[in-house]
Amino acid sequence: FIQTLYESLILDSILLANPLENGKVSVLVVLGHAVQDIEIVTERDDEIKEKLAHLFMAGKSQTYNQEELDRRKNRLKNWLEKNHIPVREQGESQTTLCVAGVLTIDPPYGPEDCNSSNEIILCRVQGLIQSYLALQQ
């Protein structure tokens, strides 16, 4: 009954996504310690791969053009600098903001785009970005 073998990760847990008739997706997660063997039955086509890649990325449907992203980045950078947060640009085309070397903010620079292994810094910076967005509205 499982149609798509999907992804594995930390602790090697396996996520199996199974599209339902009503348009919803049923997700079964097998925890890493309970996995005995993995066998890939068939490789899926690109369309399904694309669909799976965006399965949990809900709310990221809004698209921005390059100019807009640049503007958002610079405004956020200025806001963080104004709050005495050390921030620099990094990545291949300088699109990622890096805060104090431990947190990255990817386009489109919302609270959900922050990544850090330090949850205290993550929480603080997400709070800052939220208050910055609230201030703009």
């Binding site: 997700v27 949990f56 990325m57 205290i120």
Partner: protein, 150 residues
């Protein structure tokens, strides 16, 4: 005055406790693991901790043989997979989740949160054969699989 009324019982309490009694007080529960704060290298956790040794660079196959090009590639792949897994946990928040556990235990609960090492899940309204438990922690090592709809 209300402030005086508060101070009087406090003074009495201090007199009852002698300094000797206080020094012999034991810690009620042994502390199993106390995470250290961010260090100078700012990884946010101690490189000698069991967690770092389990998930750090030395745990990667390419990390063991010091293959820097492969190491970076593998780390990138892990980052993508970890992010997607964490987002799947986020998507699960507030949803009814069916947990398949050992000994044919099959329970449903509303997912709340997970700890950083994915060792425990916090759930609400856990529907057990003995009734509904308002709040509960499930050990991930007890869970074989869980499923939810999106």
């Amino acid at each position: 005055m209300p402030s005086e009324g508060f101070q009087i019982p406090k003074r009495q309490e201090v007199q009852v406790k002698s300094p000797k009694q206080r020094s012999t007080m034991k810690v009620p529960v042994a502390i199993l693991r106390l995470p250290r704060g961010p260090d100078g290298s700012s990884r946010g956790f101690d490189p000698h901790s069991p967690r770092f040794q389990a998930l750090g660079p030395s745990s990667l196959p390419s990390g063991a043989c010091k293959d820097t090009a492969n190491l970076e590639q593998e780390q990138q792949a892990r980052v993508a997979l970890r992010e997607r897994y964490l987002r799947s946990l986020l998507a699960m928040v507030g949803q009814p989740v069916n947990f398949i556990m050992y000994e044919k235990v099959n329970v449903t609960a509303l997912f709340g949160a997970s700890d950083i090492d994915i060792l425990n899940f916090q759930v609400s309204e856990l529907q057990t054969p003995l009734g509904i438990q308002r709040e509960a922690l499930l050990r991930c090592s007890d869970i074989i699989a869980y499923s939810f709809e999106l």
